[in-house]
Amino acid sequence: MSQSDLTMGTHLSVPERSSPFAMPSKKLAMWLFLIADAATFATCLVAYGFLRNGSLNWPTPFKFFPTVVNTMVMTFILVTSSLTMALGVRAAKMGDQDAAYRWTMLTAAGGSIFVLLHVHEWMDLIDEGVRLSRNPWGNALFGASFFTITGLHLIHVMAGIVVLIVVGLRCRGGRCDAGDVEITGLYWHFVNLVWMFVVPLVYLLNVSK
């Protein structure tokens, strides 16, 4: 055998570089993180559901006012902030940096109101004697699961606000990275999506009728 048996690169196929998912790596990484985060939230919600289902004396203390009304307002704000976020991503992608800046800041403002309302609600509950380890209404796991799940969600919202502000301010300086706005948007929508499950499971199943 000799080199002459080998022809040089004539009919060799060299496929073009391609990504099977056709998206920037950063966006892919964000989606991956969200899958993991979904599993994390699901774990907490399943644990809560498991314990609630197995308990005999699960309390249903939430009154229409203030808790349910407050939850309605919080839900409204979060869903609205998803709309502003989507519009922010759209603006950034279309190159309208000023609009992107305004929408992201509006989104961050919505998130902040949500946090304020949520913290206020927490304070009220703590005043009523609800703790991680006990509560005035019965099964101690009520407080434990309430604070754990809403707390985990609250941490996510707060982190999202920080990121929104950082990414948004860059848009004002004209150094907008549309990709960054987009993945921040993915994160923000996801956190709001989780809230869509927290509301019925943690709040609405526990209203006093």
Binding site: P20, A39, V68, P200, L204
Partner: protein, 121 residues
Amino acid sequence: MVLTNRQDDRGAPYGGNPGKYLLVYFGILVLAGLQFAIAYQQVNVTAALFRMFALAILEAGLMVVFFMRLGAENRPFVTWIAIVTLLVLTIMQSSWPDSYRMERDAPPNDRSPGYRTGPSQ
């Protein structure tokens, strides 16, 4: 610092009328409102749970498909993410049967009332 060779994004282009977002937005609000209505229906917990949960899934679907634009991503990605996420979230439900035996320590069909009011708390 991101070292990536991929900056191409072949998701559907942005632009056009943002009215679609508004529609989705109102859709989610309506579904969320329905959840609150169900909370005050006179049905047992299980029925309420299933109704609210179904609505939550619809809301989440709207969010994922339109706001997060999964609908505009390419097929392999949508398939992959759907399989991975649904597999994990579905299998996670396999703990449910055991929640029924938590305090009773009895086979799942033993629901005699005497047993239920056991010594717990």
